[in-house]
Amino acid sequence: MASKRLLKLASGILSASLVLTACGGNNGNSGSSSSPSPSPSASSGSSSPQASQDTPTPVTLSIGYATGDPAGKKAIEDVLDAFSAAYPHITIKNLSETTSDSYLDWLKTKDAVGEFPDVVEMRDTKVFADAGKLAELPEELHGLFSYLPSYEGKYYNAPLSANAPNGILYSKKAYADAGVTELPKTYDEFIAIQEKLLASGTSPIVVGGKDLWHMGFWVNYFLISQVYAKDPDWNSKRTAQTASFTDAQVVQAITDYKELFSKYVDKGWLSTADNQTASILVSGKAAQLFSGPWMIGQILEADPNFELGFYALPDREGKTTVVGLPGLSGWSLSSEAAKDSNKVEAFSAFVKFFFDPAQYKTFIENSGSIPSTSAKMDIEANEIMQQVLAIAADPGIQKSMMINQWYGENAIPPQFRNWYYKLLQELIVNKGDVAEYMKQADAEYDSNVKANQQ
């Protein structure tokens, strides 16, 4: 009997320890990437006026940013290293990690486990501002930027960069072979070039339609040049149901899109991924790609001798409007960190340091992006990139945004963009009627708006 009781006890202990080991595994993982650092509570507790005047109070600032793009990741890491060297009293605790999750999911997870970074590269400002996770940007930083995005009248973000302008990346050789001597000044001239390319036996345009977001380049070219250029507030009117996708200018934009895609786009576009477009362009299978300056490096890497040209695509009247306003994203301070004045100070120091021309110039060059600051800088870049920067800096070229980049009143339901791009793919493969499809778009938009209000 006694031995049985002993057995029972032992099995009880065994089962309990099994449960505990499972928990232990979890604990071990959660604290993985953080380096030993003074605890935040200790640093904030010791803040006294005299101490901060003589020697700055040591502060720990946790930071999180998107690491999906290797060039951008490296560029930020370099800035962080330089910042740590310049401000020895501020300890940067880097929480960023490369995961297979989307950046938004990663941030949500961090928030759920109570590790929301003090300084965060915010890409979904609406979501986190609505949830009360973000603090407003300190006043003193507003002057740094040429254009500051606001959400519901408040500034939350220090934009890392402006949106890069899109344009036609083309093979100079294919243009020469087709007898194209001049770049187009209007959209109709552009179409004439497509005809010449077809006649010369070259597939005119490669599109990476397998990646839905790649669809956005063309779709938004048409929407921007025919809708947003004249009415930047069109989205808010759509939400209020005073504008419709069946309006003449939208139908015209989508009809142009349909015609271009039916006639001049390389046949396999629906199964071509964005990352294959560079090699299709370089191999000479297609003559043009409509994308942004981040492709320049990829194309020249695939073939350093490739004769690449770039231009912004004008509309029918010859007016050019490009993507180029900064979106509702950038460095943000968490509302939790904003309660600690030392952290706010450290955050301001970080933002000033980050956007200091001496520092920011390197970041822009390394990440291949477009500056968002008002200070002038001489950026070293290749000839084509200089062209892009000139377009970005040219006040004569109107800047606009893609359908999903608008914010505040003009924000579209977040689920609408992908649905709309899919609808537009279906429009091409089914040779559908534009007006009919735009009616569906209206219905979906309204039901999305309704669903999000609940």
């Binding site: 089962s15 999911d105 949830a131 990646d211 977040p414 493969v429």
Partner: protein, 301 residues
């Protein structure tokens, strides 16, 4: 009297004893599976975005939206179409392969391994491989067609809505058939040789033997295989996500794909959960009916 007392006492003691072994697993399972599953039913009546602490109840709105959404209907049709096509094809191919490797005289282990290899691959990897094979510009299939002078048959296999779902089905059959082949093979080897001999003495040909002896006696294996392939095809996700992303347009979206897109891509956990609940009920119903029907035709020897 005393005997029965001892008996009951022993019985409860045993129960008690087993409890300690079940408890850890049960506790973990409850905390990480049963409780989240049950609490998600609750979420399907909300408009939760997955992050906001303020969760709002909207009654049956999610289910109404589902009922009215052509996109969900399309996904449901695709799901059912996929399930039927995959269950039929996977089982026919698996059975044929099993009979083949059972009868083959040389290199039988080699063949078994070859047919089984695709199973070992993850769906994602397999999706990528087939995506490359079927690519319009660089893919092997189109290059082969070009090489043998059938260039006009070249098709954008994953970009043409008429072929996209078919391409996914065929590549999935290629991947999954080996697994069911093993189950059928085990069943085949359990069939006594004497029955076959008796049948052939009675003058039954190969087909008759298969039709009246082999196939009925494989009923147990069939139940398992049909069941597994049905569940597998109803929850198929990775191939679609990798190969077509639900496209072109909405052509290859299934319920699982929409659940993922809605809940995680669009930040509508509430609606996603409601969809998942519907899929759960669907799988549950189909599985119950299937088991009932298939169990009936199993025979005991």
């Amino acid at each position: 009297m005393s005997a029965s007392f001892v008996k009951t006492k022993r019985k409860t003691w045993w129960k008690d004893y087993a409890l300690w072994f079940i408890l850890p697993a049960f506790a973990l399972y409850s905390v990480f599976v049963i409780w989240p599953t049950l609490s998600s039913i609750n979420l399907s009546f909300t408009s939760w975005d997955g992050i906001n602490p303020d969760i709002r109840y909207i009654g049956f709105e999610n289910f109404k939206e589902m009922w009215n959404s052509p996109r969900v209907h399309n996904a449901l049709i695709n799901t059912i179409y996929l399930a039927i096509a995959l269950v039929l094809l996977e089982n026919i191919v698996a059975l044929a392969l099993a009979v083949l490797v059972d009868k083959v005289r040389w290199f039988r282990n080699l063949f078994r391994s070859i047919f089984y290899f695709p199973v070992l691959m993850s769906g994602i990897i397999m999706g990528f491989i087939w995506m490359i094979i079927l690519n319009y510009n660089f893919g092997v299939v189109n290059q082969l067609l070009d090489a043998i002078g059938l260039g006009n048959l070249k098709t954008d296999w994953l970009g043409n809505p008429d072929f996209a779902l078919l391409s996914i089905i065929l590549s999935t059959v290629w991947k999954a058939a080996g697994y069911y082949m093993i189950i059928y093979l085990a069943g085949l080897q359990g069939i006594p040789q004497e029955l076959m001999e008796a049948a052939s003495i009675d003058g039954a040909g190969r087909w008759k033997q298969f039709r009246h002896i082999t196939f009925p006696l494989l009923a147990g294996a069939t139940t398992v295989c049909v069941m597994l392939s049905m569940i597998g095809s109803l929850k198929m996700f990775d191939q679609i996500a990798v190969m077509t992303n639900g496209g072109p347009g909405f052509a290859t979206e299934t319920l699982t794909y929409i659940i993922y897109r809605v809940a995680f891509g669009e930040g509508r956990q509430g609606f996603g959960t409601a969809l998942a609940l519907v899929l759960f009920i669907l799988i549950l119903l189909i599985s119950l009916v299937q088991i009932k029907v298939l169990r009936k035709r199993e025979v005991q020897m």
